[in-house]
Symmetry: C2
Subunit: 331 residues, 2 copies
């Protein structure tokens, strides 16, 4: 064990302990009384057990030392880095959360994004697109919310789904016997990954790209929306399952807001006067992003009204906002 | 900036950088290619912004370096230690999760436990007993589940609630007009904290310890159960809202299992032949603890049957198992 000590004039001290087996520890003592101990080790389960035993002893000693004083000691679970499985997928509001991931089921780059499907013990398979948790097999409540939380009658209706490559929305809509549900998903690889690995979400609806009352177009939805608008097509429901509300209005993000406005505007053009538009917003803590989104709703080609609902999607580990938008009644 | 370097023969190297302002960083390079960088600093928001900027640069450089190679670089949100607010309350299955806590509302030691009520931006106030997340104001679904998920008719019934000091179960039961709901909670300080700070959960039901159709006994439930059993009292529903299923069967935990069996047995003695017993189990990933609990159900004074349900309680950040237990029909 090598030991070294650094002492600041006004900032306390740092002791570093280095073991022959490659582990090291930092003991940082701050002058106002905070003591932090970080231990980093690399190795298999045997080493993990040894480290765990060592930390148990440290914890007991710390608790002994702080007994009878107003101090407190707290030990956090280890952060595991560098393995094949990444268990850390921070929430939209930037909190560190660890998932119970135990298997990488699918990991491919498509021309559009990185597509991961990871297995969680409790949530089933989870679809992660370019690092964002999209949907887990446990998340029927997401699909339910973005379809209007059971308040709508889809029978005999025309429905347009933007995105939704996991097939969850399409699968649920088809059960409700629409006249025609059209899904426009740009990424064939998302469809392929989900139809194989997210079957609790999509059932068999993605096995064929067309069915009795549905069709899947593997295309960019913007030209499709423009075509439909030009043709005067009108839908009872438009469900935007594309992407969350952008978080920032920084210059480099402007294009995301423009894209979002474009989609919204085109969607309103193909929506019947008494139709409804459903979409997800973002995490409920992203109040600024959400109110920016609500401002956008005031800048469309026609006046609209909206309502929102806060929903607990199991795998998100944060509450999520869903919007319903409709055209203002004509006077 | 002070820099020091330690090189192992077979385990790579560790560079430590120490700044004059009290920050330090460890750059650990492992021989198989993993590089970890940990930076620890202490200070206010100004320093946090500076550190954030620095880490943004590091991240960009890491991404540049790994471009075109099969490598990946990932940055995790900072872990904040030593502040007045503790945002880390690991799940029952031991995962590290960060909550959006922004205020310590209540923090007291009672004769029985430490009682904290912390404010979360999204979940409202959260009751934490001796370090365990008990219930947040957002968690109506917990109360709903431990009452039988809306499948029961409490009107005119006799109900016994064990624990439940947050008042959530009592508040919902009282709305359903039972003949008499009796709640037995040992800790007056839990009641006092919750009636002030968890009003979205308990409404005004804890303002008085008795009402038209309810009473709250501030007592240990074991002697109460024994008394009721001796008197031949019989309830339509017993709701055990005391504590989660113990995780371990290690010797030092034996008393917890004994306590749990005692409560279960006494509860069955005061339950009508066609009555129902509801309780929470534990996190869904604690399969061993849950099956040990199910084994206990086979060791009671009378034969019982049970069903279980997996529920997403918003503030738990893990799925939770709830049990319904009933006496086997007499032949």
């Amino acid at each position: 064990m090598t030991e070294s000590l650094h002492t600041w004039q006004d900032h306390g001290c740092l002791a570093t302990y280095i073991s022959a087996s490659g582990s090291f520890a930092n003991l940082r003592i701050y002058p106002h009384g905070l003591v932090s101990l970080d231990l980093q080790s690399y190795g298999g389960d045997a080493q993990a057990t040894e480290v765990d035993g060592l930390l148990n002893e440290v914890e007991e000693r710390m608790k002994d030392l702080s007994r009878g004083s107003p101090g407190r000691a707290k030990r956090l679970p280890p952060i595991v880095r560098g393995g094949a499985i990444d268990r850390y997928w921070p929430t939209a509001d930037g909190r560190l959360v660890e998932y119970d991931i135990d298997e990488v089921v699918y990991d491919e780059d498509s021309p559009y994004q990185n597509i991961k499907i990871l297995h969680s013990k409790q949530y089933g398979n989870i679809l992660i697109l370019s690092g964002d948790i999209n949907l887990a097999e446990s998340d029927w409540v997401y699909t339910h919310a973005i379809m209007g939380s059971g308040r709508e009658d889809y029978a005999g209706k025309d429905v347009l789904i933007l995105g939704g490559g996991d097939g969850g929305v399409l699968c649920e809509i088809v059960k409700l016997k629409p006249r025609m549900a059209t899904m426009v998903e740009i990424d064939q690889m998302v469809i392929d990954g989900c139809k194989k690995h997210m079957r609790k979400t999509c059932g068999d609806v993605l096995d064929q790209l067309t069915g009795d009352c549905y069709q899947v177009l593997v295309e960019d939805c913007v030209p499709v929306l423009k075509r439909y608008a030009a043709e005067g097509r009108a839908f009872d429901y438009v469900i935007n399952d594309l992407t969350a509300v952008p978080i920032s209005t920084a210059p480099e993000q402007d294009s995301t807001w423009e894209f979002l406005r474009l989609i919204l505007d085109l969607s309103m053009r193909v929506l019947k006067q008494n139709g409804k538009y459903f979409t997800q917003g973002n995490g409920v803590n992203l109040t600024e992003a959400l109110s920016l989104y609500e401002q956008q709703l005031g800048c469309l080609y026609c006046p609209v009204e909206f309502s929102k609902e806060v929903v607990c999607v199991p795998s998100y580990l944060e509450l999520w906002v869903f919007y319903t938008v409709w055209k203002k009644a004509q006077p």
